[in-house]
Protein backbone atom coordinates (compact mmCIF):
# COMPACT_ATOMS: atom_id res chain seq x y z
CA UNK A 1 0.00 0.00 0.00
CA UNK A 2 1.40 3.37 -0.95
CA UNK A 3 0.94 6.20 1.42
CA UNK A 4 1.86 9.76 0.63
CA UNK A 5 4.28 10.26 3.49
CA UNK A 6 5.08 13.84 2.58
CA UNK A 7 1.44 14.82 3.07
CA UNK A 8 1.10 13.14 6.42
CA UNK A 9 0.52 15.63 9.21
CA UNK A 10 3.11 14.96 11.93
CA UNK A 11 2.20 14.49 15.60
CA UNK A 12 2.00 17.89 17.31
CA UNK A 13 5.25 17.18 19.17
CA UNK A 14 7.20 17.01 15.89
CA UNK A 15 5.52 20.16 14.56
CA UNK A 16 6.21 22.03 17.80
CA UNK A 17 9.84 20.87 18.01
CA UNK A 18 10.47 21.93 14.44
CA UNK A 19 8.99 25.42 14.62
CA UNK A 20 9.25 26.61 18.23
CA UNK A 21 12.65 28.29 17.85
CA UNK A 22 11.61 30.28 14.78
CA UNK A 23 8.37 31.36 16.43
CA UNK A 24 10.19 32.31 19.61
CA UNK A 25 12.76 34.36 17.67
CA UNK A 26 10.08 36.21 15.72
CA UNK A 27 8.06 37.01 18.86
CA UNK A 28 11.18 38.13 20.74
CA UNK A 29 12.09 40.55 17.96
CA UNK A 30 8.51 41.76 17.55
CA UNK A 31 7.38 42.08 21.14
CA UNK A 32 10.56 42.22 23.20
CA UNK A 33 11.72 40.06 26.08
CA UNK A 34 8.87 40.82 28.50
CA UNK A 35 5.95 40.06 26.25
CA UNK A 36 7.34 37.29 24.06
CA UNK A 37 6.86 34.43 26.52
CA UNK A 38 3.10 34.75 26.93
CA UNK A 39 2.69 35.28 23.20
CA UNK A 40 4.74 32.13 22.51
CA UNK A 41 2.44 30.08 24.70
CA UNK A 42 -0.68 31.61 23.18
CA UNK A 43 0.60 30.98 19.64
CA UNK A 44 1.14 27.27 20.17
CA UNK A 45 -2.09 26.85 22.13
CA UNK A 46 -3.99 28.38 19.21
CA UNK A 47 -2.08 26.14 16.82
CA UNK A 48 -2.91 23.12 18.98
CA UNK A 49 -6.59 24.09 18.98
CA UNK A 50 -6.68 24.15 15.18
CA UNK A 51 -4.20 21.33 14.58
CA UNK A 52 -6.58 18.36 14.59
CA UNK A 53 -8.57 19.89 11.76
CA UNK A 54 -5.70 20.56 9.36
CA UNK A 55 -6.10 18.69 6.08
CA UNK A 56 -2.53 18.67 4.89
CA UNK A 57 1.02 19.22 6.10
CA UNK A 58 2.05 21.86 3.60
CA UNK A 59 3.31 25.27 4.70
CA UNK A 60 3.10 24.51 8.40
CA UNK A 61 5.81 27.06 9.15
CA UNK A 62 4.00 29.82 7.30
CA UNK A 63 0.80 28.73 9.02
CA UNK A 64 2.22 28.96 12.54
CA UNK A 65 3.92 32.28 11.72
CA UNK A 66 0.56 33.64 10.63
CA UNK A 67 -0.85 32.65 13.99
CA UNK A 68 2.18 34.22 15.75
CA UNK A 69 1.65 37.42 13.79
CA UNK A 70 -1.93 37.57 14.98
CA UNK A 71 -1.06 36.91 18.58
CA UNK A 72 1.55 39.67 18.37
CA UNK A 73 -1.07 42.01 16.93
CA UNK A 74 -3.45 41.21 19.78
CA UNK A 75 -0.70 41.96 22.29
CA UNK A 76 0.11 45.24 20.54
CA UNK A 77 -3.52 46.23 20.43
CA UNK A 78 -3.95 45.54 24.14
CA UNK A 79 -0.88 47.44 25.17
CA UNK A 80 -0.75 50.24 22.58
CA UNK A 81 -4.16 50.70 20.99
CA UNK A 82 -2.94 52.89 18.15
CA UNK A 83 0.17 50.92 17.30
CA UNK A 84 1.02 50.07 13.75
CA UNK A 85 1.08 46.44 12.77
CA UNK A 86 4.32 44.89 14.02
CA UNK A 87 6.65 43.79 11.30
CA UNK A 88 7.18 40.08 11.39
CA UNK A 89 9.96 39.08 9.04
CA UNK A 90 9.09 36.59 6.33
CA UNK A 91 11.13 33.42 6.16
CA UNK A 92 12.93 32.53 2.96
CA UNK A 93 11.53 30.15 0.44
CA UNK A 94 7.87 30.69 1.24
CA UNK A 95 5.37 29.33 -1.25
CA UNK A 96 3.60 31.38 -3.89
CA UNK A 97 0.60 32.27 -1.79
CA UNK A 98 2.75 34.47 0.39
CA UNK A 99 2.52 36.87 -2.54
CA UNK A 100 -1.08 37.08 -1.43
CA UNK A 101 0.18 38.35 1.90
CA UNK A 102 2.00 41.15 0.06
CA UNK A 103 -1.22 42.04 -1.72
CA UNK A 104 -3.09 42.09 1.57
CA UNK A 105 -0.53 44.11 3.50
CA UNK A 106 -2.76 47.18 3.53
CA UNK A 107 -5.71 45.38 5.09
CA UNK A 108 -6.58 45.72 8.78
CA UNK A 109 -4.91 42.99 10.79
CA UNK A 110 -7.87 40.69 11.39
CA UNK A 111 -9.11 40.90 7.81
CA UNK A 112 -5.65 40.31 6.49
CA UNK A 113 -5.13 37.20 8.55
CA UNK A 114 -8.58 35.88 7.66
CA UNK A 115 -8.05 36.44 3.91
CA UNK A 116 -4.61 34.81 3.98
CA UNK A 117 -5.86 31.80 5.94
CA UNK A 118 -8.94 31.44 3.73
CA UNK A 119 -7.37 31.89 0.32
CA UNK A 120 -3.70 31.21 1.01
CA UNK A 121 -4.20 28.10 3.14
CA UNK A 122 -7.69 27.11 2.03
CA UNK A 123 -8.87 26.78 5.62
CA UNK A 124 -12.58 26.73 6.41
CA UNK A 125 -14.08 29.34 8.72
CA UNK A 126 -14.11 27.09 11.72
CA UNK A 127 -10.39 26.55 11.51
CA UNK A 128 -9.73 30.21 10.76
CA UNK A 129 -11.74 31.06 13.86
CA UNK A 130 -9.67 28.62 15.90
CA UNK A 131 -6.42 30.12 14.61
CA UNK A 132 -7.60 33.67 15.25
CA UNK A 133 -9.28 32.96 18.55
CA UNK A 134 -12.66 34.17 17.32
CA UNK A 135 -15.95 32.65 16.14
CA UNK A 136 -16.64 31.16 12.69
CA UNK A 137 -19.12 33.95 11.99
CA UNK A 138 -16.57 36.61 12.88
CA UNK A 139 -14.00 34.84 10.69
CA UNK A 140 -16.42 34.77 7.77
CA UNK A 141 -17.21 38.45 8.22
CA UNK A 142 -13.54 39.41 8.47
CA UNK A 143 -12.78 37.44 5.31
CA UNK A 144 -15.56 38.92 3.22
CA UNK A 145 -15.00 42.48 4.34
CA UNK A 146 -11.28 41.97 3.60
CA UNK A 147 -12.10 40.76 0.11
CA UNK A 148 -14.49 43.69 -0.46
CA UNK A 149 -11.80 46.08 0.65
CA UNK A 150 -9.26 44.43 -1.67
CA UNK A 151 -11.67 44.77 -4.61
CA UNK A 152 -12.06 48.48 -3.90
CA UNK A 153 -8.29 48.88 -3.58
CA UNK A 154 -7.46 47.04 -6.80
CA UNK A 155 -10.09 48.94 -8.80
CA UNK A 156 -8.39 52.20 -8.11
Amino acid sequence: MMEDVAQRIPPFEAFYAEHRDVVFGVLRRTLGVDRADDAFQETFLRALRAYGRLDHAEHLRAWVLTIARNVALDVHRRTRPTAEMPEIPHVDGLPAFVELAELTDALPAKERAAVVLRYGYDLDYERIAAALGSSPDAARQATSSGVRRLRRETRR
Binding site: F12, F24, L48, G52
Partner: protein, 186 residues
Protein backbone atom coordinates in the same frame (compact mmCIF):
# COMPACT_ATOMS: atom_id res chain seq x y z
CA UNK B 1 16.69 31.74 18.50
CA UNK B 2 16.67 28.85 20.94
CA UNK B 3 13.47 28.53 22.97
CA UNK B 4 14.40 28.80 26.68
CA UNK B 5 13.97 25.55 28.61
CA UNK B 6 11.63 27.02 31.22
CA UNK B 7 9.37 28.55 28.56
CA UNK B 8 9.29 25.21 26.75
CA UNK B 9 8.30 23.47 29.97
CA UNK B 10 5.64 26.06 30.73
CA UNK B 11 4.06 25.55 27.34
CA UNK B 12 4.07 21.77 27.80
CA UNK B 13 2.37 22.22 31.21
CA UNK B 14 -0.17 24.66 29.80
CA UNK B 15 -0.95 22.34 26.88
CA UNK B 16 -1.57 19.47 29.30
CA UNK B 17 -3.89 21.65 31.41
CA UNK B 18 -5.71 23.06 28.37
CA UNK B 19 -7.56 19.84 27.61
CA UNK B 20 -6.57 20.28 23.96
CA UNK B 21 -4.13 17.36 23.78
CA UNK B 22 -5.21 14.00 22.39
CA UNK B 23 -2.37 12.33 24.31
CA UNK B 24 0.69 13.27 26.35
CA UNK B 25 3.80 11.25 27.04
CA UNK B 26 7.15 11.33 28.79
CA UNK B 27 9.96 9.07 29.87
CA UNK B 28 9.93 7.37 33.27
CA UNK B 29 13.20 5.99 34.59
CA UNK B 30 12.99 2.51 36.03
CA UNK B 31 15.30 -0.34 37.15
CA UNK B 32 14.41 -2.19 33.94
CA UNK B 33 15.28 0.73 31.70
CA UNK B 34 13.57 3.90 30.56
CA UNK B 35 9.84 3.57 29.94
CA UNK B 36 7.91 5.72 27.53
CA UNK B 37 4.55 6.37 29.18
CA UNK B 38 1.57 7.85 27.33
CA UNK B 39 -1.73 9.04 28.80
CA UNK B 40 -5.01 10.51 27.54
CA UNK B 41 -7.88 12.16 29.37
CA UNK B 42 -9.38 8.67 29.71
CA UNK B 43 -6.34 7.16 31.42
CA UNK B 44 -3.09 5.34 30.82
CA UNK B 45 -2.74 4.56 27.11
CA UNK B 46 0.61 2.82 26.72
CA UNK B 47 3.93 1.91 28.27
CA UNK B 48 6.79 1.18 25.91
CA UNK B 49 10.26 -0.22 26.52
CA UNK B 50 11.58 1.45 23.38
CA UNK B 51 12.91 4.81 24.57
CA UNK B 52 12.83 6.32 21.05
CA UNK B 53 9.49 8.10 20.75
CA UNK B 54 9.39 8.59 16.96
CA UNK B 55 7.72 5.32 15.95
CA UNK B 56 5.53 5.28 19.04
CA UNK B 57 4.33 8.84 18.41
CA UNK B 58 2.95 7.92 15.01
CA UNK B 59 1.21 4.92 16.50
CA UNK B 60 -0.32 6.98 19.30
CA UNK B 61 -1.39 9.66 16.83
CA UNK B 62 -3.11 7.01 14.69
CA UNK B 63 -5.04 5.84 17.74
CA UNK B 64 -5.95 9.09 19.48
CA UNK B 65 -5.44 11.97 17.04
CA UNK B 66 -2.45 14.13 16.13
CA UNK B 67 -2.46 16.35 19.20
CA UNK B 68 0.31 14.39 20.91
CA UNK B 69 2.91 16.25 22.99
CA UNK B 70 5.63 15.36 25.48
CA UNK B 71 4.48 16.75 28.80
CA UNK B 72 6.16 15.62 32.03
CA UNK B 73 3.37 16.98 34.21
CA UNK B 74 0.65 15.08 32.36
CA UNK B 75 2.05 11.73 33.40
CA UNK B 76 2.78 12.64 37.04
CA UNK B 77 0.16 10.23 38.40
CA UNK B 78 1.45 7.33 36.31
CA UNK B 79 5.05 8.17 37.15
CA UNK B 80 4.20 8.23 40.86
CA UNK B 81 2.55 4.80 40.85
CA UNK B 82 5.32 3.24 38.75
CA UNK B 83 8.00 4.68 41.07
CA UNK B 84 6.17 3.20 44.06
CA UNK B 85 5.86 -0.17 42.33
CA UNK B 86 9.57 -0.37 41.56
CA UNK B 87 10.30 0.81 45.10
CA UNK B 88 8.27 -2.11 46.61
CA UNK B 89 5.74 0.35 48.02
CA UNK B 90 2.87 -0.59 45.68
CA UNK B 91 1.40 -3.96 44.76
CA UNK B 92 -1.51 -2.91 42.58
CA UNK B 93 -2.19 0.07 40.38
CA UNK B 94 -5.05 2.52 40.82
CA UNK B 95 -4.58 4.12 37.38
CA UNK B 96 -7.48 3.89 34.95
CA UNK B 97 -6.52 2.56 31.56
CA UNK B 98 -7.50 3.68 28.07
CA UNK B 99 -7.90 0.56 25.94
CA UNK B 100 -9.50 2.18 22.91
CA UNK B 101 -8.85 0.43 19.65
CA UNK B 102 -8.68 -3.07 21.17
CA UNK B 103 -11.10 -5.87 20.30
CA UNK B 104 -13.67 -7.29 22.73
CA UNK B 105 -11.63 -10.45 23.18
CA UNK B 106 -8.45 -8.51 23.91
CA UNK B 107 -10.27 -6.33 26.40
CA UNK B 108 -11.71 -9.38 28.18
CA UNK B 109 -8.29 -11.04 28.35
CA UNK B 110 -6.64 -7.85 29.62
CA UNK B 111 -9.37 -7.42 32.25
CA UNK B 112 -8.66 -10.95 33.51
CA UNK B 113 -4.93 -10.29 33.32
CA UNK B 114 -5.35 -7.28 35.60
CA UNK B 115 -6.78 -9.65 38.26
CA UNK B 116 -3.68 -11.86 38.44
CA UNK B 117 -2.27 -10.86 41.83
CA UNK B 118 1.13 -9.38 42.57
CA UNK B 119 3.81 -12.00 43.10
CA UNK B 120 1.80 -14.82 41.49
CA UNK B 121 1.77 -16.35 38.05
CA UNK B 122 -0.87 -17.91 35.82
CA UNK B 123 -0.52 -19.89 32.60
CA UNK B 124 -1.68 -18.77 29.16
CA UNK B 125 -4.29 -21.55 29.24
CA UNK B 126 -5.62 -20.50 32.64
CA UNK B 127 -5.98 -16.94 31.49
CA UNK B 128 -7.77 -18.12 28.35
CA UNK B 129 -10.20 -20.12 30.49
CA UNK B 130 -10.86 -17.16 32.77
CA UNK B 131 -11.62 -15.05 29.70
CA UNK B 132 -14.21 -17.66 28.63
CA UNK B 133 -12.15 -19.22 25.82
CA UNK B 134 -10.38 -22.22 27.39
CA UNK B 135 -8.79 -23.36 24.12
CA UNK B 136 -7.49 -19.95 23.10
CA UNK B 137 -4.12 -20.12 24.89
CA UNK B 138 -2.32 -19.17 21.69
CA UNK B 139 -4.56 -16.17 21.08
CA UNK B 140 -3.94 -15.13 24.68
CA UNK B 141 -0.21 -15.33 23.92
CA UNK B 142 -0.73 -12.89 21.08
CA UNK B 143 -2.67 -10.55 23.34
CA UNK B 144 0.17 -10.67 25.89
CA UNK B 145 2.69 -9.99 23.14
CA UNK B 146 0.78 -6.88 22.06
CA UNK B 147 -0.21 -5.71 25.53
CA UNK B 148 -0.17 -1.89 25.21
CA UNK B 149 0.35 -1.33 28.95
CA UNK B 150 2.90 -3.85 30.27
CA UNK B 151 3.78 -3.75 34.00
CA UNK B 152 0.44 -2.14 34.92
CA UNK B 153 -1.39 -4.88 33.02
CA UNK B 154 0.95 -7.58 34.34
CA UNK B 155 1.63 -9.82 31.35
CA UNK B 156 4.98 -10.69 32.97
CA UNK B 157 2.96 -12.89 35.40
CA UNK B 158 1.76 -15.16 32.58
CA UNK B 159 3.97 -18.20 31.97
CA UNK B 160 3.90 -21.47 30.06
CA UNK B 161 2.10 -24.58 31.32
CA UNK B 162 5.40 -26.27 32.15
CA UNK B 163 6.49 -23.26 34.15
CA UNK B 164 8.89 -21.87 31.56
CA UNK B 165 8.70 -18.13 30.95
CA UNK B 166 8.00 -18.46 27.18
CA UNK B 167 8.47 -14.85 26.09
CA UNK B 168 8.05 -11.16 26.77
CA UNK B 169 7.65 -8.27 24.35
CA UNK B 170 10.18 -6.27 26.37
CA UNK B 171 12.66 -9.16 26.38
CA UNK B 172 12.83 -12.15 28.74
CA UNK B 173 15.40 -10.38 30.93
CA UNK B 174 12.79 -7.80 31.90
CA UNK B 175 10.20 -10.48 32.61
CA UNK B 176 12.65 -12.18 34.99
CA UNK B 177 13.47 -8.89 36.71
CA UNK B 178 9.81 -7.98 37.21
CA UNK B 179 8.99 -11.41 38.65
CA UNK B 180 12.04 -11.20 40.95
CA UNK B 181 10.98 -7.76 42.07
CA UNK B 182 7.62 -9.25 43.07
CA UNK B 183 9.34 -12.06 44.95
CA UNK B 184 8.41 -14.90 42.59
CA UNK B 185 10.87 -17.80 42.88
CA UNK B 186 11.85 -19.37 39.59
Amino acid sequence: MKTPTDLDRRFRDAAARSGLLDAAYDTVESPIGDLLVAVTDRGLLSISFDPDPAALLDRIADTTGRGVLRSPRAIDAARGELDEYFDHRRRSFDLTVDLRGTTDFTERVLAELARVPYGQTATYGELAARAGRPRAARAVGMVMNRNPIPIVLPCHRIVGASGDLVGYAGGLGRKVELLRLEGVTM
